[in-house]
């Protein structure tokens, strides 16, 4: 079996940004499709599920990020960069409203309240919650087809031939994609786990 290739997401992302800056609207669509849902989840978790507020914050984040695209040099993954921008926007929001921000630090992961329904002690629930968010963040940072394939296979338990059918691909192609997706997920998860500052440094 061929070993999974090492992905170079930074190259893809630099190319995507370059296309956006050149005025290619399909690149914008790809950008929105790939990063917006994850960014929205990122914000929603930090805003206690306040949908209206999350919508406002993410919209401002996206507009600010687009305004700063010229300064994006690919030193941090694009999704990480967007999350850092979003975190700053959330901090700014609470400051503007004279409310105590839950997070104001560029490097601190927010201490969101874990779900009340989770079992175990507070520490255990918190750890589980944080680990769960890491998984979701890692999935959100992947290309959408990779994330879907990983979820189909390892969350839904779909067989490879079923995944091939959903992708409209051959069994071999689906198997290969799944292998690459799993490697990308692992890489993203480890990167996020090792860098809770989500991109304060490249």
């Amino acid at each position: 079996m061929r070993a999974p290739e090492r992905l170079r997401p930074e190259d893809d992302e630099r190319a995507l940004v370059a296309r956006m800056r050149s005025g290619d609207e399909r690149a914008f669509d790809e950008f929105a499709e790939r990063y917006l849902p994850g960014l929205h989840r990122f914000a929603l978790r930090r805003l206690d599920g306040d949908r209206e507020l999350a919508r406002d914050v993410v919209q401002t984040t996206m507009c600010n990020a687009i305004a700063k695209l010229d300064g994006y040099r690919g030193e941090a993954p694009l999704f990480t960069w967007l999350c850092a921008c979003c975190r700053n926007e959330i901090g700014g929001h609470f400051r503007r409203r004279d409310r105590r921000p839950r997070e104001v630090e560029l490097d601190g992961e927010p201490h969101a309240v874990p779900p009340a329904t989770a079992g175990g002690g507070p520490q255990e629930r918190l750890l589980r919650f944080e680990a769960g968010e890491l998984v979701h963040l890692a999935l959100d940072s992947l290309p959408p087809n990779y994330a879907r394939a990983v979820e189909w296979r390892y969350l839904e338990g779909a067989a490879v031939d079923e995944i091939a059918r959903r992708l409209g691909a051959t069994y071999k192609a689906a198997e290969s994609l799944l292998s690459r997706a799993r490697a990308a997920f692992r890489e993203a998860y480890e990167r996020l786990a090792a860098s809770p500052d989500l991109g304060a440094e490249p």
Binding site: M1, S22, G23, D24, E25, R26, F28, D29, A32, E33, L36, P37, H40, R41, L44, R51, R55, D56, V58, Q59, T60, M62, C63, N64, I66, A67, K68, L69, G71, A76, C85, N88, G92, R95, R96, V104, E105, L106, D107, G108, R128, E133, V135, H136, V150, E151, Y154, L155, V160, Y171, E175, S179, R182, F185, R186, Y189, G199, A200, E201, P202
Partner: protein, 398 residues
């Protein structure tokens, strides 16, 4: 069909597939976002993207994302518009209103757009280079700030979305007083590069690229750490203050025989040219010095620390630094210039970190002092403020 598991790789002591399955099972499915929300955000972001990069593709040619970000057909086509800092929230709400059946909104929007366009056209004509050179641009506006054109037309409100607007020679800017409903402050960038800030209750006439006239209130001028542009002089009833590579505040209070003009030099030197109302002699004032000129021309010398409450309004009006890609050292240099604090490093390790760590993100919604904690923390640093010094140290608790 036999599946090739291909799980020879291990992850955390388990086969990679098994660990992946365990993690996903514990995390559960990702929560789905509301499609309406994603569509609204996408269209607002698209408008900003088109404004900046002028999209080549036609909307009809776009490939719809497969089910994740559907766009309702009745969503308004994004027209180029200019989201400004903090304005996107309002715009998002407007977009949602636009989706509702009430049809009067498009008509009102058109009317508002026409009025806004006429206003901008009027302003552009009055401030066009053909009429008078643009000698400053608006960077920060808080509260109520008004402007008059060189011809005396106006006033025009410089609201918070006026950032980037040019001001021609001959313009006058006035900020609302501290006891007004919306006390006003502003930061302008002079054509020569200097930062000019207007405190509350200030009226200033931008006479030329080299001279402003302060009739009341306070202005702060920072010609930059490496001044290279044309020096800017501040004319007051007491005379003309010439900056010599510096940061200083000039304030005019009272009226008539009670008028007091006060100079506070934070850094560098300032020369007060004779020729004031009472023929004040030329005076040179240096860092940390305060000079009060009374209406009768008498002078009172004093001292002023380069940091502390006297400069709080200056710090509060500071245009924020774009930290993206800057080292911590550059950020600290900016903090020092804005706050007047001396930056010191507790040890070589802290200095090395400041020199090597590159920042990403934004501090747009924080004041300079508020940004210290988040930025330094992200670099593994901490700080203490004592006796006018900002001491930067390694945060060993991280």
């Amino acid at each position: 069909m036999t599946e090739n598991r291909g799980t020879e790789r291990e992850w955390r002591g388990l086969p990679e597939e098994e660990e992946t399955r365990r993690l996903l099972a514990e995390a559960g499915p990702r929560p789905a976002a509301e499609e309406d929300d994603l569509a609204a955000i996408t269209e607002a972001a698209r408008a900003e993207w088109r404004r900046r990069y002028g999209g080549r593709g036609e909307a009809a040619e776009r490939t719809e994302p497969d089910g994740e970000v559907p766009r309702p057909p009745d969503l308004p086509t994004a027209a180029p518009e200019r989201p400004e800092r903090g304005a996107a929230i309002t715009r998002r709400s407007d977009r949602f209103r636009a989706e509702r059946p009430a049809r009067r909104w498009p008509a009102l929007a058109v009317a508002a757009a026409v009025i806004a366009a006429l206003g901008l056209a009027w302003w552009a004509l009055r401030t066009s280079p053909a009429a008078a050179p643009v000698i400053a641009s608006v960077e920060v506006v808080t509260g109520e700030v008004l402007a008059w054109t060189a011809g005396g037309d106006g006033p025009v409100s410089l609201s918070a979305d006026a950032s980037g607007r040019g001001l021609a020679a001959g313009s006058t800017v006035e900020t609302a007083s501290a006891d007004a409903g919306e006390p006003g402050r502003a930061a302008l960038r002079a054509a020569g590069g200097a930062s000019l800030r207007l405190d509350t209750g200030t009226r200033v006439h931008l006479a030329s690229a080299e001279r402003i006239e302060l009739t009341r209130g306070g202005v702060y001028l920072d010609s930059g750490a490496d001044p290279g542009g044309r020096p800017l002089a501040v004319a007051t009833p007491a005379g003309v203050f010439h900056e010599l590579g510096t940061q200083f505040e000039v304030r005019v209070e009272g009226a008539g025989t009670e008028t007091i003009t006060r100079l506070r030099v934070r850094e560098g030197r300032v020369a007060l040219d004779g020729g004031g109302a009472q023929g004040t002699a030329a005076v040179l004032t240096a860092t940390g010095e305060e000079l009060v000129v009374r209406a009768d021309g008498s002078l009172v010398h004093g001292e002023i620390a380069p940091h502390g409450p006297a400069w709080e309004w200056v710090v509060a009006t500071a245009p924020m630094l774009d930290i993206e890609g800057l080292t911590v050292r550059r950020f600290l240099d900016w903090i020092a210039r804005e706050t007047g604090l001396r930056v010191e490093f507790a040890d070589a390790e802290a200095a090395a970190l400041a020199d090597t760590v590159v920042l990403h993100g934004s501090i747009d919604h924080l004041t300079p002092l508020e940004s210290l904690g988040p930025v330094l923390s992200s670099a593994g640093l901490d700080y203490r403020i004592m006796d006018g010094s900002l001491v930067v140290l390694v945060d060993h608790d991280r």
